[in-house]
Point group: C2
Chain length 208, copies 2
DNA sequence: CATCTCAGTGTACATACGTAAACTCACTCC
DNA sequence: GGAGTGAGTTTACGTATGTACACTGAGATG
């Protein structure tokens, strides 16, 4: 590869990381172009060689989130063979919390900017989350078949699960490791609740 | 009441509303003292007669959210007599969506600043949400008794429900009214899923 | 090798920021 | 009714912001 464009790519990454780093403490909306440039160790005006403005940088961050989420999904699937649903749930959530810890800044951005940010920004994030929900929904269906069970509207179940896991999981970010254990249990419990509720019981005990 | 402090209270409210208004588009963290003062139609330096800095204003906004949430809960309860659980769920969620629409800015702040903001800010919001969860949890218990049912860990159920309702409900903010109907159905469906999963079935079908 | 390209720099400017200080003047209070 | 109070204003400051413009110099190109 070009030595020139290689160097450019490097600074671009420096900018992205700087923005990620800074946004985790004060929120992306509060970042200034200059402070990002400074953190990336370039002159303010060099910023424009990479992005038109802060909004465009923001969209690149969303891309970053997107590939990161896909990696997460891929990893979770790879290790999900030949397990029963309950230990699979537990395992997936551990994978997830691990991911959250490793990508704290990305994750903070993902959740923090769902509200508040610009329309473009918000829409881009929504799209990524929806995609994640769809994938999980398909996994749930696949799994139900494998286990000879029926789920009703796995779509709703998936959305509910993603909402819970993402939102409660975000709290892990501010917690010391030893407290994260309790959090995991809470999440597992709640996800199981949803799965139980989604399961089509062979004969439901109706009161009347 | 004092004519003087009456006037002061009025400007204070103007400041709070201005901040609320502005924060809904760009996020609270991105607000400057000067623009809030300008929106409230006072000189920038008069801001200090009311708050030490923007952080203190923020905490007042959280207070505003707190009383607003309590009002919501009170209203929902007042109209919840003599209903079965499923229509009660539906009704509560309609009340909630109505509330969200009427307090759009407060609500955006509540959700948007859960991440991102300062520690004090975040902690204050967390406290309010937790309180809400506790109240809902008690309501669930009370209801279960009334209907002669058993719930397991209503606490988890309440947390899951609040998370779902708040997060998905927040999407209503960006939706035209005619699309909000579909959203309500989604929420109702997911909440019912959780409630079904939380219900202690008289005899659980265990595999082994 | 001469020339071109372009990521990054340095300087400059208008504008917005937070806040200190000294002020005004409608009000409260004795 | 005269003194004191305090919400709000005006002026002023040092600092940070976004961005235009002219530049440099290492690396690509023919």
């Amino acid at each position: 590869m070009d030595k020139r464009s290689e160097q450019k790519a490097k600074t671009r990454i420096k900018l992205i990381n700087a923005a990620l780093e800074l946004s985790s403490t004060k929120g992306f909306a509060a970042l200034s172009l200059r402070e990002v440039a400074q953190a990336a160790e370039i002159a303010p005006t060099a910023f424009y060689r990479h992005f038109r403005d802060m909004e465009e940088l923001g969209l690149s961050l969303v891309d970053e989130i997107a590939v990161s989420l896909r990696r997460l999904l891929r990893n979770a699937r790879k290790n999900s063979e030949a397990k029963d649903l309950s230990s699979l749930t537990r395992f997936s959530i551990e994978t997830f919390i691990e991911y959250v810890n490793e990508n704290a800044n990305l994750f903070r951005l993902l959740l923090g900017e769902r509200q508040g940010a610009s329309d473009t920004f918000r829409a881009a994030l929504r799209k990524e989350i929806d995609l994640f929900v769809v994938e999980l929904s398909e996994d749930l269906d696949r799994l139900a078949v494998m286990q000879n069970q029926k789920l009703r509207h796995s779509g709703y179940a998936a959305e509910a699960i993603v909402t819970i896991v993402f939102t409660i999981g975000a709290e892990a970010l501010d917690l010391p490791p030893f407290k994260q254990e309790a959090l995991k249990i809470r999440i597992v419990e709640e996800v199981n609740m949803i799965l139980r509720g989604a399961r089509e019981t062979s004969r439901v005990k109706t009161k009347r």
